[in-house]
Amino acid sequence: MSAKPLFILVCSEEHEKIQMAAMMASVAAVSETQVHVFISMGAIYPFKKGLSDDQRYKGGRFSQVLKDKKAPDAMMLFEQGKELGDMTMHACSMALDVLGWEEDELIEGLFDGCLGLTKFLSDAESGELITL
């Protein structure tokens, strides 16, 4: 394992940022770095169960390119990171609260539960924090 774990805080629902978070998380996780992903604010929307690609991914010009070229799906990359590496994903409890969502409305098998920001930030003191 690499000395410093990587903490990725995602708060934008922009497709390009979700894609970058998924790429960083999955590649770092399979490269023997411990990865912890925290999904908050609008970034929670794309993680809702049962959406089509167009409903799930909203973004700028590059988002359309990612869809047209069939770049690896961000949700699939998060899943691969968890499957093949040492990675956890948590949904922000505040984001779920304000939306009135339950944890079971999120894509199955992706999340390790809900977490508060305080706990995530406290854990992140031991590693590198990236915010998207």
Binding site: M23, S26, V27, V30, S31, E32, K69, K70, A71, P72, L77, Q80, L84
Partner: protein, 76 residues
Amino acid sequence: MSERKVIDARGAFCPGPLMELIAALKLVQIGDDIEVLSTDKGTVNDVPEWVAKVGHEMGETIDHGDHWSVIVRKAK
């Protein structure tokens, strides 16, 4: 007797070929080779970087013109 498995990741974009390689490595024996076919230019640099970091062995990288073959031996 070592074996070679071919992964056809042509048409997949970063980090698709790398993820396919890693998934395949989990399923083969130590000493076996995986040959990744890729049209993604980044694969030629990314795979050796990953292999060096995690401790497998890099084999040949062959430029076929319209795609590359990147060969990796499972070392652990």
